[in-house]
C-alpha cells in the first residue's frame, strides 16, 4: 500500500482572507479557460458555497455504489472578470468602473453572510480543495481511466494527456472539486502542488497561509501532527464523511464565541447548532468539540496541553511534516 499525503485545516484559525485562493490561482489556474476555477476556495458556511449549492449536486458513493450527480453550472462558479479601466478612465465616457460583464453569482458571494438571528447569529469560513480521497469517485467514474492516484503520495491527478473531457469525474465528485477547462476541453483539478511536494515544499495554499492553519504531512507518519490530530486526538474530521470517498483533507471544527440567553447574558449554548456541524463533519464532531473544550480549559487553568500546543504551532515549519527546502 502506498503512502498518503494529507492536510488538516484548523477552522478556528481561518480568517477568510483568501490568501490561499490567490496563491493557488496565480500558480496554477491563470490561463484562459481557467478563469472560473478555484482549485482552492474559501466559502462562508452555512451558505451555498462554491460552486453554488455544490452539496445538492450529488456524487460520491451510496452503499458502495458510485453515484453520478448533476454537473455544476458554469454560472454557479462566478469567475474572474477583467475590469473596464480603459473605458472608465480614458474613453471620455461616463461609464463607471466595473467588471466588463456581470460576474453573476460569485465564488465568495456570501462572504460573512451570517445565519440565525442577531445576536446569536453564526457563520465561519470553510477552505476547500480536492480531498485526494482514498476512494476517489472521480477516478472510478472516468470511462477512459485518465484519473489516477499516485503510489508514492496518494495524490489524485487527471492525466491531461488521457483526459477526453467527458466530465463524468465532474459528476461523480461530491465536492464539485473537478473543473472543466473550456478552452482545451479537459478536466482539471487541484494537484496538491505535487511538483512542490516532490521537492519537499508544502503546497502553495498551505505554505502561503498567513493564518498558519494548514498542517501538511503523510497520514501514516505517527510522529507528525496530522496523525496526532486525526487519529490520536480525533479532533480533525473529514468533510461530509457520508459521501463515502474517504477524504484526506481534515478539519478541526469551529468553536464560535459564547451565545447570549434571552436576557442578553452569556449562555453556555453553542453558537453554531450542533446539527449543522454534524451535517458537515459527521457524528464524530461532538466528541471532537468536547476534546477541544476540555483542552482549552486546561490551558485556561494554567495546565499543559499537548493538543493546544500542537494547534498553536509555535514553529511555523512544524505545520509541515515534509522537508521544507528553501526555494530561493
Amino acid at each position: 500500500m502506498g503512502k498518503q499525503v494529507a492536510m488538516v485545516m484548523d477552522l478556528n484559525k481561518c480568517i477568510g482572507c483568501q490568501a490561499c485562493t490567490a496563491a493557488c490561482k496565480s500558480l496554477w489556474t491563470d490561463d484562459e479557460g481557467q478563469e472560473y476555477m478555484l482549485w482552492n476556495n474559501v466559502e462562508t458556511r452555512p451558505g451555498p458555497g462554491y460552486p453554488r449549492d455544490w452539496e445538492q449536486d450529488g456524487g460520491g458513493f451510496a452503499d458502495g455504489q458510485l453515484q453520478y450527480g448533476e454537473l455544476p453550472e458554469r454560472s454557479a462558479h462566478g469567475g474572474e472578470i477583467p475590469l473596464n479601466h480603459e473605458q472608465a478612465f480614458s474613453s471620455g465616457t461616463e461609464i463607471r468602473l466595473q467588471q466588463k460583464e456581470p460576474m453573476g453569482y460569485g465564488a465568495n458571494q456570501d462572504e460573512d453572510t451570517s445565519s440565525g438571528t442577531y445576536p446569536n447569529n453564526y457563520h465561519f469560513y470553510l477552505p476547500r480543495l480536492c480531498n485526494h480521497c482514498t476512494k476517489p469517485a472521480c477516478l472510478e467514474a472516468c470511462p477512459v481511466r485518465a484519473i489516477y492516484k499516485r503510489e508514492q503520495d496518494g495524490i489524485v491527478l487527471v492525466d491531461q494527456d488521457k483526459c477526453q473531457g467527458i466530465r463524468m469525474c465532474n459528476r461523480a465528485c461530491p465536492y464539485d472539486k473537478v473543473y472543466f477547462n473550456y478552452v482545451i476541453k479537459k478536466s482539471q483539478k487541484c494537484i496538491f502542488c505535487f511538483p512542490r511536494v516532490e521537492q519537499g515544499v508544502a503546497p502553495a495554499c498551505a505554505r502561503q497561509c498567513p493564518g498558519r492553519l494548514r498542517f501538511v504531512g503523510m497520514l501514516e507518519d505517527e510522529d507528525g501532527p496530522i496523525h496526532k490530530l486525526v487519529y490520536q486526538w480525533k479532533v480533525a474530521l473529514p468533510l461530509h464523511p457520508e459521501y463515502g470517498t474517504d477524504p484526506n483533507v481534515f478539519y478541526v471544527p469551529p468553536i464560535l464565541p459564547s451565545s447570549f440567553d434571552e436576557q442578553g447574558r452569556f449562555s453556555e449554548d453553542p453558537r453554531v447548532p450542533m446539527d449543522y456541524l454534524r451535517y458537515l463533519f459527521g457524528p464524530e464532531v461532538d466528541a471532537a468539540l468536547i476534546t477541544m473544550h476540555e483542552e482549552i480549559e486546561r490551558k485556561k487553568a494554567g495546565k499543559a496541553s499537548e493538543l493546544m500546543d500542537l494547534l498553536i504551532a509555535r514553529e511555523w515549519k512544524s505545520l509541515f511534516n515534509i522537508p521544507d527546502v528553501r526555494v530561493a
Partner: protein
Amino acid sequence: MSQVDIGRREFIQSSGVLAAGLSLRYGALSDAVAETPLVYGQWEDLMRQKWTWDSVVHGSRGVNCTGHCAFNIYVKNGIVWREEQQGEYGHSGEDTPDYGPRGCQKGLRQAKYMYGSQRILYPLKRAGKRGEGRWERISWDQATREIAGKFVDYAVEHGPESISFAMGTAMILKRAALAALFRFANLTGVSVPETFAGVGDLPIGAHMTLGMALPCDTMAAVFKSRCCLIWMCNPAATRIPDAHFFWEARYNGAEIITISPDFSPTAMRSSKWVNPKPGTDAALAMAMVHTILADRSIEWDYVREQTDLPFLVRTDNRKFLRGTDLYPSGHENADSNVFYLWDEATGSAVRAPATGEKPDENETLQLGRIKPALEGRWAVDTPDGQVEVTTVFELVKKLAEDYAPEKVSETTGLHPDVIREVARIFSSAKPAMIYAGYRSAKWLHGDKIQRAWLLMCALTGNTGREGGGMQTTQLPKADGVMKYAFAGTGPRLRVAALSLWDYAHANHKEVTAQVYGEEFAEYIDRHHRESVARGWIPDYAKTPWKMAIFAGLNPANWRASGKSWRETAFEDLETIVATTPDWSTTAMYADYVLPVAHHYERQDIALEGRTPYMQVIDRAVPPVGESADDWEIMARLARAIAKVAVERGIPPVDDHIYGRPIKRDFSTLEEQFTLDGQIGDTRDLVQFIIDNSFGLPKISFDELSAKGIVRVDDAEGTQFGKQSAYNYQLLASVVDKQPYKTLTARQQFYIDHDWFLKEGEQLPMHRDPISIKGYPLRMLMGHARHGVHSLYRDDSLLLSLQRGEPDIYVNRDDAQERGVADGELIRVFNSYGSFIANAHLTSGMQPGSLFMYHGWDPMMFRNRQNFGAVIPTGGLIKPTSLVGDYGHLNFKTPDNVPNQTFSDFTCDFERYSETGHESAGNTGLGRS
C-alpha cells in the same frame, strides 16, 4: 494503554479496511490494467515545468497596510510571474509563536496587478474637462517643464505654502520614497497636509493621557496576554499577517473578547463577543471602570506612582492644586506646573515628584517616602485662605457612579452581567490588553473612549506591562529619513493639519449648518475662531490653495464630507497633479498624471510597526512604460523647477518657517535635492538611510537584498528596547520611571483646562454619538479586508471574491422593512447626499446599523458618489481638540492635531431600481 497506541491500532485497522475496499473496488480495473497497461504521469512534467522561474529577488510592497511582509518575487520570461512569502521569521520573547509566514491575498496579487489595466504607463495631460477622461500622452520633459512652470508661478506669487504636497500611503511607507518626498517638501516649502489625524487615525486621547499617541508593542505581545479586548478593531480582516497571534493566545488559555456592534470576522474567532450599540464604547469602558473600582481590583502602587489619580484638586474651582495656589506670586515655589499629593506619612500636601516648570532632570516618578493618599478630602492653607482639596481618584469614583452597569445597560444595549463579567475577566487577568485599532479615533468623542480605556489599563496596572495595555501601532523612528530630508538646511518643513485645512478651504461650516443645524455649526465655528484668535491653531484661511500635488494619495476617495470637498476645495485648485502607479478618482480629476513605478520595479526599505524587521524592496524587473520611482520623479521635478527659476532669473524666495525668515532658492533645487550629486538614485538614498538610522543594523543594500529581512536592533522581546528603532517612551516611564511628557508628568486622566471643564470633559466620560434628525440608521465603516485603503479594490480576482461591485452589509430585518432582498441595489441617503451599493444581507449586523468596508473608489459607483456622499462630518471639530497653552496640549503636527472624523452621522436606505440602460449619469462633480 496510551492514546498513541489506540490511534495506531485503529489506523492499522482502518487502513486494512481501506486497502480491502480498494482492492475490491478496483479489482476489475486492475485486471484491465494488467491486460492493457496504462502509463500515467508523463504529463506531470508539464506541471513541474510550470513551477520554474528564471530569477528571484527579495521584495515587498511597502504600502500602508504596514505589513511589509517578506516575499520572494519570481521572474519568468522577463516579467514578474508570481510572489511567495519568504516565510522564515524569528520569535519575539520567550515561548511565543514565530512570525512566519505573514503575507495576505493583496500581496499575493501584485504580480498580476502590476500588469493590470489600471496601471498608468506614461505621463498624461488632461485634454478634456476635468473628470471627462480625455488625455494626451506627453513626454516627461514636457510634463515636468509645465508643472515646474506653474509651481514657480504660484510659489513666487502666493508663496510656496499655496502649493499642497499631499503624500499618500501608497508611497510613504517606503523609507526612501518618503525621504524623497520630504526632502522636496522641506526644500520648497510646500504645505504638507498630515494624513494621520487627517484620516481620523490619531488616538488623541492617548496623547492627552500619556503624552504620546501610539502606545504599542510587537504583535507577539498579544500571545503574552491572558485577556485581550479587541475593541473597535477588526484585525482578522485588517492585520491578516499577524492575526494568528490572537487565536494562538486563545488556545494558550487567554480570553479573546471582541467588542463590536457587528459580528465581525474578528468576533467570529473570539472566545466572547460583546455587542454594544454603535458609539457607546466610552460608556461601556466607564462601566468597566465602575466595576473595577467597586471590586477594588486595583494595582494601588502602580496607580500612586504612574498616574495623576492621587493628585490634589481644589473642590471650589475644580483645578489642580498648584504651586501658585500655595505660594504668593514671586515666591520661588509659585510654579503653576507644580502639583501636589496628600502624603499620608506626614499628613500634608507635598509636591508631586518630577512636576514643575523645570524639574530636576534626574528626578523620576519614584515616590520615595511619600505615601500618596488616593481617597479623602483635606483642607489646605493658601495665602487666600483655606481651600478644600480631594484627589483625582475621588473624582473618578464620583463620576463612575453614573456608569454602574445597570445604568449604562440601556445606553449600550448590554446586560449588566455581561459588562461585569468582562470587566472582571479583564481586571483579574494578568496581563490584560486592549487591542485598539484606529476606529475609535473616527468618532468625534473618540478621545474619551481612549482615555477610558487607558483608565481601565492604569487601574489594573496594565499600561506598559508585557502582554498588557492599550495597543495601537508603532511608527518606527525615521531619523535616517529626516537626515536626508533636512540635510544642509535643517527642518523647514511645513506640515499642515488636514482637518483644519479642510475646514478653511471646503465649505464645511455650511455643510454642518445644513445637516446638523445652525446652532451646532456656530458652536464649532466660535471655538475655531477663538482658538485661531488665541494663536492656539494656525489660520489656514490666510493661505491660498492654488495647486496640489497628490503623491500616491487618493483623497477624492476618502475625505470626510467628500462630496462637497470635491465640489469646493478640490475643484477650486487651479492645478492638480497626481503621481500614482494606478488610476483612481483623484487621478481622473487631475490635470497632469505622472506614472509611478510598481513595488517590484524599484528599490527601497520598509520597517514594520509591530514586527521587528527591516524589509528590503528590491527591483525584480525594470519599470513598465515610462513609470519611475518617487525619488526619480522628485529629482526630475526639482531639475525642471531649477531650470525654470534660472531661465526666469527668480531670486531666492522669502519665506517664514517656525517664526523665522528664510530664503528658498529654487534655482539650485536639483543640487540641493541630490546633496550635490551625493545621491544619484534611490539605491544611494536607501543606503544613506540605513547608515544614518538609529536602531537599524548597519548593512549594505546588497547584503540586505540577499537576506530579504534583517532583525532590527534591541528588539528580542515582545516589547521594543531602548536601543531599537521603535518608540520606547512608555516603557521609559513605566519601567525606568521617567516622567511622562504630560503636564502632570504622569498618565494624566484629569485635564483642568478651562475648555475641558466647560465641556465637562475633564475626566474620561461618555457622550452620545451625534445623529442626523430623521435618519434612524448608523453606518459603520472599517479598513478593508480585500484592499489596502483605496488600493487594489479594483483587482479583478479580489473583486470576483466579493460581489463584483461595492457592497454594504445590512441587517435582514432592516432590509425586509424596506422591501430589499439580498444582492439588490440600495440607495443609502441622508440630508447630505446619497450613494448606491449592493445590499449584502446578514444576520451579523446589529439592527439599525449598516457596515461598509472603506476604500471603494467613487469611480466604481453610480454617479461617481461613494460613501463620502453621506458622511457630512468634515466640519465636526470638537473644542477640546483646539486647545493650547496647556502643557502637552498644544497644537503640534503630526502628534497633536484634531482628527478629521467620520462616524457621527445617521442615514437611511431604500431599494434602488436602475431604469433603462446602465449609465453613470452626470458626474455630480461639476458645480454647473
